[in-house]
């Protein structure tokens, strides 16, 4: 990537700033790393590293009860960890936003990523989470903006699936 091409993570960060999202929790994924770095440099954003993705659901809901908007960043493998926790924003009608970097779909190298990659949309739909999807860099900003507005304006849960095609499938080398 050359310096003249803006990283799509910059567009997500801009949405966070535009919509006053001031708490960002995550179990890290390489696809989110540039965004996490941007948030960590920002004194107005609290970045919370979790030990399991489901805790980000409760953290987001508590932050909202206290008057702050937040977002949970995770890899698709973490979505399965969140299932029962998603009952909390659902039953309380608390806005909940998560950005999911997809694995197990486009040129995946690791077979272990495939089951939860395939299961991710089904699990989210099963818990009444509205799914938005970004397959191209150019649509990331508008998609995250739409998902965030959907969540915070209608008091629902929303997930943006950031496709592996866009993030790039890592090819591992042995040794």
């Amino acid at each position: 990537m050359t310096a003249t091409i803006k990283d799509w993570r910059d567009d997500i960060y801009k949405v966070f700033k535009d919509l006053d999202i001031t708490m960002v929790s995550h179990v890290p994924d390489a696809g989110h790393t540039p965004l996490i770095n941007l948030c960590e440099k920002d004194n107005e954003i609290d970045v919370v590293t979790l030990t399991t993705e489901q805790d980000g659901v409760g953290l987001s809901c508590g932050a909202y009860a206290g008057g702050r908007k937040s977002a949970l960043l995770m890899q698709s493998s973490g979505v399965g960890n969140c299932i029962n926790a998603l009952a909390l924003p659902n039953i309380c009608r608390i806005p909940f936003l998560t950005l999911v970097s997809m694995r197990g779909e486009w040129g995946e190298f690791i077979p272990w990523q495939v089951p939860m990659g395939l299961g991710t949309p089904k699990v989210l739909e099963a818990m009444d989470v509205k799914i938005f999807r970004a397959d191209y860099k150019e649509e990331v900003g508008s998609t995250v903006d739409a998902a965030a507005r959907f969540a915070f304006n209608t008091n629902r849960s929303a997930a943006v699936l950031l496709s592996q095609k866009m993030i790039g499938a890592k090819q591992f080398k042995n040794g």
Binding site: L50, D55, G58, C61, G62, A65, R68, S70, L88, N155
Partner: protein
């Protein structure tokens, strides 16, 4: 061993205006509700394991309030990792009181890990919450009050309780959206 219900009621009696109380699902919520309906309480009736991260998010968002979480050993054991998160993203206004009866009383009193070899005070300390201690007598009530209102958090108090079933005391509403909006109104006002 502490009789949990009068213990919780005593802590909540004469509560200060800056206190907000969260309770983990099940018996802890019935205990808090037994102290009287109050818009400054929010009780979980599901989403087991989420009370600690919820309280962390709330405490980070409302640094001028004192946040008190009552929850059980079962709920705490489901999210041990969240204790590490609390320790490493510390909030000085959060106190967690674990009503540890060493059993899943609501489902038939099956023993929890704390009936065996697990010590939640040591888990908290090992996770990085240095302000952690265990009480076994309700006479330690004054110490807990001091921790809740005055001491630098985060803190985790393990209150060893009798394992006995207590009457259910329902909240104002079982509808989470009603409960959370009522609770949020207590923060805005």
């Amino acid at each position: 061993m502490i009789d949990r219900r009068p213990f919780v009621q005593k802590i909540l009696k004469n509560r200060k205006p800056n206190l907000r109380v969260i309770s983990g699902l099940g018996t802890s919520t019935w205990d808090v509700m037994s102290g009287g309906d109050n818009t400054s309480n929010f009780g979980f009736i599901g989403a087991m394991g989420q009370a600690i991260p919820f309280s962390l998010g709330l405490a980070k968002s409302q640094p001028d309030l004192r946040i008190l979480l009552f929850t059980g050993d079962g709920d705490t054991l489901m999210s041990l990792g969240s204790i590490a998160t609390v320790a490493n993203h510390p909030v000085s206004n959060l106190s967690i009181v674990v009503l540890d009866n060493e059993s899943y009383v609501e489902t038939g009193s099956q023993p929890t890990a704390t009936a065996g070899k697990t010590d939640l005070e040591l888990v908290a300390k090992g996770s990085g919450i240095s302000n952690s201690y265990t009480i076994t007598n309700e006479n330690d009530y004054d110490k807990v009050i001091k921790t809740i209102y005055e001491e630098e958090g985060p803190s985790l108090v393990v209150a060893k309780c009798q394992a006995k079933a207590t009457p259910l005391v329902f909240p104002h509403s079982f509808d989470g959206s009603v409960s959370i909006n009522r609770f949020m109104s207590s923060i805005k006002s």
